[in-house]
Symmetry: C2
Subunit: 260 residues, 2 copies
Amino acid sequence: MQFIAGIESELEKRSYGLLLQVVPTLDVELATYRTWRAARRVDGVVCVDPRIDDPRVALLSEPDALPAVVVGDPTLANGLMNVWTDDAAAIRESVRYLHAVGHRRIARVAGVEGYGHTLIRDDAFRDETERLGVRGYVARTDYTPDQGAAATRSLLTSGEADRPTAFIYDNDVMALAGLGVASELGVRVPDELSIIAWDDSPLCAATYPRLSALSHDVTRYGAHVARRLFDAVDGKPKASFLDSTPVLRPRGTTAPVPAR
Amino acid sequence: MQFIAGIESELEKRSYGLLLQVVPTLDVELATYRTWRAARRVDGVVCVDPRIDDPRVALLSEPDALPAVVVGDPTLANGLMNVWTDDAAAIRESVRYLHAVGHRRIARVAGVEGYGHTLIRDDAFRDETERLGVRGYVARTDYTPDQGAAATRSLLTSGEADRPTAFIYDNDVMALAGLGVASELGVRVPDELSIIAWDDSPLCAATYPRLSALSHDVTRYGAHVARRLFDAVDGKPKASFLDSTPVLRPRGTTAPVPAR
C-alpha cells in the first residue's frame, strides 16, 4: 500500500486516478492489458514483478502498446521505461556483513522462482558466498510464513555441524516465521542465530528482538515510478533509472557468531 | 488487499474496474467524492471506516449523490446501503471466553478513537466486563506497533496486583508488538499472559506461540460489498446486510490463568 500511496502522490498532482486490478493469473493480466489498450481505458501501465522473458513486457513492447514503466531490473525490461532497486548489491552487502562478524554458513530463504528479482538475488548470493568462501544454502518458498517456517525448521535441524548460523529471508513475514521457529526449537536469536529480513516494514520493528532488515523508501519508490510513467506518456526517451540500493539496518536479530 | 481482491472478484464478472484513491485526510476524501460525482468518473463508491456523524456519509446521502455502500455498523450508515460485521458480538465473545478460563483483569488495546467501530467495540467491551464483574482496561493507540508496544509496557509494569492477565488488540501488528513486549519483560505467554489479536491474518500464524485471533473471511466480505454496490447502482432498496460475526480462534497465546 505504501508503494501505491507513493504512485498516487504524483498522480493527484495531475488529477489522474489509479485503476487497480488484482489478477489471479498471468493470462488474466495479459487479457487485462489487451482490454485496456483496445478501450483506451487507461493512459499508462505500471508493470511489477517482471519475470525472465515476461510475456507482459513483450506485449508492452509492441508498436501500439500503452505507455508503460517496468518496475524491476533493467535486464528484465526489454528497453522499456524502467525503475529499479539494486537487489544484487543489497544481498552482497548482507552476506559481507554476516561474514565480517564471523558467519561461515549462511542460508537464503528465497521467494517465488519465476520472478526475475528472485533469480538476481540468487545469483548475487551464490556469487558472493563463493567469493568469500562461505557455505551458502538456498531454500525455495512461495513467500508464505508457512513455507518460510518449514524451510527454517528443515535447515536448523540438519545437524550441529551443518546448521546455518544466519538466515536472509526474501520478505518480512517469513523472517517473522523464522524467528518463531528459532523460539520453538530453543535456538537463541541473535546469540546462536542471526536473521535478516528483506523489505523493512513496521512489522520488523514490532518483533522481539527487533528484526534486522534491508530497507528502502517504498513510498518514494512509487512516486518515482509514477513520474517516469508520465515521462513515458509524454513520449520522452525510454531509459533505466536506479531508484536506490536497499540499505542493511542491523537491529536486534544480528550478532557475531560466538567463539567455540 | 484481500478485501480489494474480494471486491474485484465481483467487479470483473461485470467488466468493471476499481479506481483506488489513497487519501491523506478526510477533506481530500470529500473533495475526491465531489470530483467523481461532478465528472461522473465512477459508477459507485465504497466508503470504509465510517466515523460517528461522518461527513462522507452525509455527502453520500445527498439527493444527487453517487450510489454507495457503507462498510461498517448500520448505526453509522444513515440509511445508505450497508454491509457490516458484528464487532460488538465478537468482543463480547472474547471477554466471555477469557472470563471462562479464569481471567479477571482484561485490557483492550484500542485503535483510532474517531472510527465508529472503535467506539462500538469500546462500548461492548465495557458492558461485557461490567456484566461479568471483570476489571477492564482500555488503552488508546493509532494502530501502530509502537503505540501497541507502549500501551502493553505501561499496563504490564503497573504492579503485580493490578496487572492485566489478558490483552485484546485492535489489530494484528499491535498484538505482535505486545507479544514482543512480554518477551522483553520476561512475562511468559500464554502461562502468565493471554493475547488475542483482532483481524486474523497470515502474520498471526507466523508468530511463536501462534496468535489467538478474531477471524473472518475478508475476501468474501469484499465480494459481498461489491454485490451490494451493484444493487445500489441498479437502484434496489437500501438496506443493512450483516456479513458475519468474527469468530475467536484460540491458538497458542491464550490459556487459563494459573492457580496462585
